[in-house]
Amino acid sequence: MAQAALRSVCAKALFTSQPLRLFVVPQRCHSLTRPLLKKEEVEVTFVKANGEAIKTKGKEGDSLLDVIVNNNIDLDGFGACEGTLTCSTCHLIFKKADFDALPEKPTDEELDMLDLAYELTETSRLGCQINLTKKLNGLEVKVPSTINDARSS
């Protein structure tokens, strides 16, 4: 449903002059240009600082930021720059083994933004830069407390 909605929004954004400022920027729709049929669902768990685990699903090729957005996961302030590598609010902390197994290493630009993240660890990444693959099925990542203060829930 979310996927279909996103697709139709992208189409609208492309084919009408009417600005759709509330919605995600078109460049973040890249994953939708791939064939939809072959995409498999990948299960991901986000663990908030207060211990609450949110189990959810994304599609292959989606970024972890896409997964949060498409599933309406309630994390205040997450993804403020909407995946354009200009903030560090989609900071996520991986388990060491998962971090090492990620297919793409962070670029300098991602590390530049991570430098400014709170609670930075050796296994930190930006969610907007991690695209789901089948191998990541069952992934569990920690959401730092500064993004989702326990008092806000």
Partner: protein
């Protein structure tokens, strides 16, 4: 259908509530429609769904430094506006533009009308050196220069003379780097941005070739962040040139540093020592200078140079060394000098508990006094990126909600809220601007931008903003 999609696409996962405005919850007002104000409001309406939050803004247009501070060639940073817009369209929230604290309305009046007042009006005054020649023409605050190219109404007529080849920027923070980048970026790149037409015209005929970025300490103490430095070293048609002697011992320090200083220093070392600048005659030059403090601005009417005193660094903690003058002096000739050594907040209303020395409101975690709170740069001092302001504003918002729940704030007492403030504004003949009014300005600015092949051409005149905004709508006064 659109509404349904907006639900599935909420960036921060919070759906727009469709309930009507209640009268039973707390009435809260925010003073300052920048990032701190919008983030505080966002947090409060989510955590306390029966609250009403009114955001007062001095200008007719919202978003503060996201509109007037963020550089035009950083449009991605402005994506936060999408979230602010969503907050503003929440039925619990009301945006009221063109209202100034201290002149149009007093803090006491707001305290009488609302259960809580959150001050988020930022830090607008630039710090000065207090040295001879500071009032010469073309000695400007970097902040004014930024306001000029970003369309801040008070800076639209700023006289910026770009006829000399050299510019000296005093300060080594991100604002200083932004100003340098705008001065050195090829004009064809700037044309694609929402930079104001008057600035574009000035920059198109600019003769500036070299921009000096002067800091009183060394490479280990620079205040800019790595993204801004990387942009400079990668800037098209521009070479970054460093004085190698100031990097003695610095490469050896890198392994002992921690992030973010570690990676920033690594990049500085790489740019300074491992990259040969490829300077041809057409190339522009970005030249950071270390260990120098300004002593005076030279010139009779307009600045012709900056006199600098050389410093040496002292102290065992290399990252926090102090600059001590050596007594040596030098003069760098220039036709424009920009001062970029930080800001301070102003005390907008005499009843605000204010620390004049630090230039910020006296507060503890955003609590100022009973019923008065603060957030953002007014609260913390003018440092940090959008993440810092966001966290700080969320914290203040959480404290307001906690004080409501713990009954520190008596919300059983009935407060008139906006209706009483509105009647005072009406009696003074002040035209207020609703969020719908801003959306008309927004639409008009995008229309004008389209004609110029730009994403937006900002309206820089307050009267014109008010005319465009005023198409007969009114801000609902119920509650």
């Amino acid at each position: 259908m659109l509404r349904c999609m907006s639900h599935s696409l909420t960036i921060f996962g919070r759906s727009i509530t469709t309930s009507a405005v209640h009268n039973k919850g707390a009435k809260i007002c925010v003073v300052g429609g920048g990032p701190a104000g919008f983030y505080a409001a966002q947090h409060i309406v989510k955590a306390a769904p029966d609250c009403e939050v009114d955001i007062f803004e001095r200008l007719p247009v919202p978003f503060g430094l996201v509109r007037f501070g963020v550089a035009p060639d950083h449009p991605e940073v402005k994506n936060v506006i999408n979230t602010f817009t969503k907050t503003a369209r929440n039925p619990q929230v009301r945006f009221i533009g063109n209202v100034s604290l201290g002149t149009d309305v007093s803090l006491q009046e707001l305290k009488t009308a609302y259960h809580a007042v959150i001050l988020t009006y930022g830090a607008e005054q630039d710090k000065t050196f207090g040295i001879p020649g500071e009032s010469l023409s073309n000695v400007l605050a970097a902040r004014e220069f930024v306001g000029w190219y970003n369309g801040l109404p008070q800076n639209k007529n700023l006289l910026v003379d770009l006829n000399d080849e050299a510019v000296v920027i005093l300060g080594q923070g991100n604002v200083a780097v932004d100003a340098a980048r705008i001065l050195l970026t090829p004009i064809d790149e700037l044309k694609k941005t929402d930079i104001t037409e008057h600035a574009l015209a000035g920059l198109a005929s600019s003769r500036v070739k070299t921009v000096y970025l002067v800091g009183r300490r060394g490479p280990l103490q620079v205040a800019f962040t790595i993204k801004e430095l990387r942009e400079m070293v990668n800037l098209k048609g521009c070479s970054s040139v460093f004085e190698k002697r100031h990097f003695d011992g610095v490469p050896e320090m890198v392994p002992k540093l921690v992030r973010p200083r570690k990676r920033l220093t690594e990049l500085l070392v790489k740019a300074a020592l491992e990259t040969e600048p490829s300077i041809d005659t057409s190339s522009k030059i970005f030249k950071p200078l270390f260990m120098r403090s300004p002593l005076s601005f030279q010139g009779s009417t307009s600045v012709t140079g900056v006199e600098l005193g050389l410093n040496s660094l002292h102290g065992a903690d290399l990252e926090n060394q102090q600059a001590i003058p050596t007594g040596e002096k030098e003069i760098i000739n220039c036709g424009l000098a920009l001062r970029s050594i930080g800001y301070r907040s102003v005390c907008a209303d005499p009843s605000i508990p204010f620390d004049n020395k630090k230039g910020k409101v006296i507060n503890e975690h955003g609590r100022v006094e009973k019923g008065v709170y603060s957030a953002g740069w007014l609260s913390t001092g003018p440092v940090g990126v959008i993440l810092s302001t966001m966290s700080n504003a969320f914290e203040t918002g959480a404290n307001v909600v906690e004080d409501i729940k713990k009954k520190v704030l008596d919300t059983t007492e009935s407060k008139p809220g906006y209706s009483s403030i509105r009647s005072k504004l009406d009696s003074k003949g002040i035209q207020v601007v609703s969020f719908a009014g801003w959306e008309r300005i927004d639409e008009e600015e995008m229309r004008r931008g389209k004609m110029l092949g730009k994403p937006r051409e900002k309206i820089t005149d307050v009267q014109e903003m008010l005319q465009v905004a005023d198409k007969g709508d009114t801000i609902a006064v119920k509650g």
